[in-house]
Assembly symmetry: D5
Homo-oligomer: 155 residues x 10
Amino acid sequence: MKDSYVPEMMTKEDVTAMILSAKKQAGLTWEGIAETIDMSPVWTHSACMGMQAFPKAKAEALVAALGLPQEAASVLEESPTKIWEQTVPTDPCIYRLYEIVGVYGPTIKALIHEKFGDGIMSAIDFDMSVVRVPNEKGDRVKIEMSGKYLGYNSW
Amino acid sequence: MKDSYVPEMMTKEDVTAMILSAKKQAGLTWEGIAETIDMSPVWTHSACMGMQAFPKAKAEALVAALGLPQEAASVLEESPTKIWEQTVPTDPCIYRLYEIVGVYGPTIKALIHEKFGDGIMSAIDFDMSVVRVPNEKGDRVKIEMSGKYLGYNSW
Amino acid sequence: MKDSYVPEMMTKEDVTAMILSAKKQAGLTWEGIAETIDMSPVWTHSACMGMQAFPKAKAEALVAALGLPQEAASVLEESPTKIWEQTVPTDPCIYRLYEIVGVYGPTIKALIHEKFGDGIMSAIDFDMSVVRVPNEKGDRVKIEMSGKYLGYNSW
Amino acid sequence: MKDSYVPEMMTKEDVTAMILSAKKQAGLTWEGIAETIDMSPVWTHSACMGMQAFPKAKAEALVAALGLPQEAASVLEESPTKIWEQTVPTDPCIYRLYEIVGVYGPTIKALIHEKFGDGIMSAIDFDMSVVRVPNEKGDRVKIEMSGKYLGYNSW
Amino acid sequence: MKDSYVPEMMTKEDVTAMILSAKKQAGLTWEGIAETIDMSPVWTHSACMGMQAFPKAKAEALVAALGLPQEAASVLEESPTKIWEQTVPTDPCIYRLYEIVGVYGPTIKALIHEKFGDGIMSAIDFDMSVVRVPNEKGDRVKIEMSGKYLGYNSW
Amino acid sequence: MKDSYVPEMMTKEDVTAMILSAKKQAGLTWEGIAETIDMSPVWTHSACMGMQAFPKAKAEALVAALGLPQEAASVLEESPTKIWEQTVPTDPCIYRLYEIVGVYGPTIKALIHEKFGDGIMSAIDFDMSVVRVPNEKGDRVKIEMSGKYLGYNSW
Amino acid sequence: MKDSYVPEMMTKEDVTAMILSAKKQAGLTWEGIAETIDMSPVWTHSACMGMQAFPKAKAEALVAALGLPQEAASVLEESPTKIWEQTVPTDPCIYRLYEIVGVYGPTIKALIHEKFGDGIMSAIDFDMSVVRVPNEKGDRVKIEMSGKYLGYNSW
Amino acid sequence: MKDSYVPEMMTKEDVTAMILSAKKQAGLTWEGIAETIDMSPVWTHSACMGMQAFPKAKAEALVAALGLPQEAASVLEESPTKIWEQTVPTDPCIYRLYEIVGVYGPTIKALIHEKFGDGIMSAIDFDMSVVRVPNEKGDRVKIEMSGKYLGYNSW
Amino acid sequence: MKDSYVPEMMTKEDVTAMILSAKKQAGLTWEGIAETIDMSPVWTHSACMGMQAFPKAKAEALVAALGLPQEAASVLEESPTKIWEQTVPTDPCIYRLYEIVGVYGPTIKALIHEKFGDGIMSAIDFDMSVVRVPNEKGDRVKIEMSGKYLGYNSW
Amino acid sequence: MKDSYVPEMMTKEDVTAMILSAKKQAGLTWEGIAETIDMSPVWTHSACMGMQAFPKAKAEALVAALGLPQEAASVLEESPTKIWEQTVPTDPCIYRLYEIVGVYGPTIKALIHEKFGDGIMSAIDFDMSVVRVPNEKGDRVKIEMSGKYLGYNSW
């Protein structure tokens, strides 16, 4: 009976599942999808996971490219609530990033203060890329982050 | 009485305090110190904070440049035990980095898997730079990380 | 012996203790100190507690006004590392603020999204005031926060 | 079989889902809904999320305005149990508020003590607004909180 | 050298230690001290532990009664920062109270809502007594709490 | 298929749901239900929530009064496993009780030791009431707890 | 200067240190000390560690037997505050006991309910012994706990 | 559709539910069930809860005695994964055991070291009983644990 | 309705359930399965639990050997996200391994530094075996881990 | 004054500091010290860190070899209390071991059950070695653990 009066709305999780299914069936890559909608791979993956809000045009492009139902576009445009469950991530690939913050965090802070003054690198006005760099001792992952410097107010 | 039989050894914390004091009195910057010992600013600051082991020649160069006692060189060469107290860092400048790992960690993982296969970016065979990039809408912090790709074994 | 080779540098905690002592002996208030250095009471208290970096002129004004040693000025100008020990604050006065974030946080988020788009209120380009508002049913505390809206990038 | 003897009662979560669905279909905003029932947007959103108890007249106004089933009105009037799962919120928009409490909490406390005496700002006899303030360097979010001062008893 | 420029101020912990020492030497009880300053034993003990601010007259009465240094009076009048280290108290006598909150908390909440409406019992405008009640099956501890009912605002 | 071989037994949660539904439909109060079965409101609510075991006669009285299925009586008589999920309760009404334990716990302990000796107030041989006390400055909640004093053994 | 006005009182930690020193110098065992004061080894060790309050006669017997200063006797008689720092103990010998509670706790609970009714085993009106039991497959540790059954009130 | 390709296997939780249902319908006790399969009540309850692996003969005896499906026997024989969710148990009956470990753990450790040497009591080669002991001041719960002493290796 | 538009994809959990079911029905062991696909038992079990990515040929061999649906092969090849829920594992068999890391972790670190320099043992370029070693005092478990040494960069 | 009556006893931490100092001055390695006392390097380092109890002869051999004060020998023989502060170790070298337990713990458990039955590998009747294994793709760390299998009792 409950099901009859409580409406079910399409969620970001639902749309993520649709994208993953369409991606698998069509044999696409994230790079490929990103190219299709003319955005970067990092942003595209993150937004498809439900961690970013799509601009309207990009949502429609994605829905068209992957053959998703029209309702999905408006869901993709919604502002997400960003939640991660694990305070310390257990997956080794993600943990290494956490470890880098633990080891080098105070160093990044000191150099920002030295180069800019008292402030931070924004994680909002921010972009990132992940690149494979050939190297004869073993190829390397290069991660490049860029965020606007924000100086503290004094008032 | 206790003090008479328990020997006091110079620790990495002691040497960090000496470095900070010498740096302040001489009006140096981390960039400047790094140049003096011909290493990068990120590694130099991290090692001066006691989070990295100095190669012998670099330890001696630092001791000479800052006028530290000779015993400090051997302390700088010791392998550190890397400890951070706060599982979630509270300082806003460091927290933003933690937030980036929370938000974009799964994305970096997915792209590494897409570009390389099942593996990780090493945080050991690793280097990093922090650069100020002029921008008319406000200068930006650029952080560049590079780590060797390590693929999982199957055996 | 250790004390002979490890230099002691004046810290932000030391300067906070000096300020509190001078304030008590001179019978000053935070409002009064703020007025002397021509800054707001919120920023002045926070900076005196070591949570903000003083601009050079303000540091000198404070040192002069309270008769602190000259070295204190340079310490006041340093960028602080902001640490709070209690994930959930126990003091009732501060806990109520934490509770407000727990209860109304999602509401503030929803209204920012409705009024501005997908983004946040900056806690860096930020200011705040605390005012007593007379009210016949009992005076009220009015807290006013203002932070720059920062919209998420898509790239 | 279980379903046959355990009754299902409409919950606040159910009513929230109905409201969100009706809001989306009718293309409403929180400001608009608030106006309809003549309450503030902050309180309206919070109460629709199930964090506040509706006065009877307001519950009926909302049910009428959105075309909810009649039973929903009595659910809206129930006293909620206020639960938040994340001790430290991960969503960046909410985290910034948590950070403000961490950084400025002791300052707000000190100024309340200076202006009023030993006591707190009530989070119960409390109201709040969120406003967009135009600014040529970028519009700002203004949050205004007002709570009754409560002085500690001594007995 | 450090000790010469950083002033030492008398703290609430210092005054608590003085009170405990004076109490032990004079063979006093908390009931007795409370009577001397004409306050309740609960409030008196809590305030002597540094968890409450003394009204000026009471601070002076205590200082006179116990022969404390005059400076102690102003320290007793300061607003305390209330901190408890253990989220779950381990001492069995205090744990039992925590257990009572866990077991009966939702019941107290339900009865307050039934008797008053949507609101809480204040822990600020609050008082308490602890009494020994003779009972032939074994004497009982009676704890009586009284706090002002505070109803939630809707606005 | 699984459902066919794993038996479903009526649980305390099921019976709580039945009670809440019956209470709502009949427009009852906890005071009223308590009176019907001749027990106190605190115990009655707590037991209906599944936190206490009903004596046989009381279980039958409740089942009869509310028209519950007969099987519910034996479930009400079972010894509960008392679980609370939140180490620190977030609901403001319950949090205030937790805060009282944090602030006044050591005081209650000290007074029990002074009045009785080394021991505790039992939370098992225990009872409690919640009463509304009229007061012209605003009515007050009075909570009265009584528990048997238990002295530590030495052996 | 501070040391001149803040009195130092002998604490339970101080007395524990005195006992351990005297025990080592005299080559005593806990069994031997327990015999001297005619108490059990479990209680004696626990009380010497500061976790129990000594009856007056026992405190005096211990002080006499070990040649402690007279002031120690009154400290031994004080009610302790029982604190343990590690929520999950790391020492393997203590962890195994924690593990037993995790694995067998629900079983002990079920058997107490079956044999007695709804209630608990007191940890206050409680005693314990630790015995070595010869066994040809390897000697065994036998721990025997005895606590008064306390039945829950219903009221 | 998913249900058609993912097989459902009977789990230890399923078998526990079957046992509890059969026990209730037949009006059995744990003592009675234990007797039927000729094992102790502690082990029998723990194993029925899924915390122990049944020897083959005992599994078959239980299945026969309670009329469980044959597949249940093989499930009872499986090695369990022992999980408890609450680091600190909230149920008062189990918490008291946790408290005993907190208060007396270091004492048990000290006496094991004194009687045996450097080692522990095994929680694997281990057995336990729970007995009701009549006592005119109130019957007592007696818990007896016996575990093999295991001495640390040095190599 | 929801089920009609959100696609269900086969997950690693689904495939693990299929493997466990097939293994049970065919009466296989992990050693046996490992042999069939010509991999080690440790890697085989870990990969079947969803913690490793299968090389294509091994996935196909497993699917063929156990009669799994073809789609399972591609799922076995996917890179897993490695998650463990319990920061401190409660199962005694796994806890002992955690305890070994706690007790011997600093020792392993010191010996790696002594034998290799400043670096770590990789947990990625890593393999392990578990062997039963007969011993007349009781057979022993031998665990052998081998990981590539990775030295820290300095740059 | 306090120092005059509270005796200072030599602790395991003190002896560890003496060992580290003597080791550094004499230019020794852990392998070398282990050889001198005819024990393994793993055990020797662990015991020197205060995590193991020395047999009498080994304690005396170490004291003689390093020229420690005689009192140190009896301290080395004491049973240690094994404490580690970090539930999840942050040092990368130790974290990798923790990660191995997280990833492979369930696999080790499954293989022990398959090879031995329901039981565990002892961490008490246990030994370990750490070896450098030359390898042309980069030398490897080999860790070998051996612990007695302990089967669960059923009784």
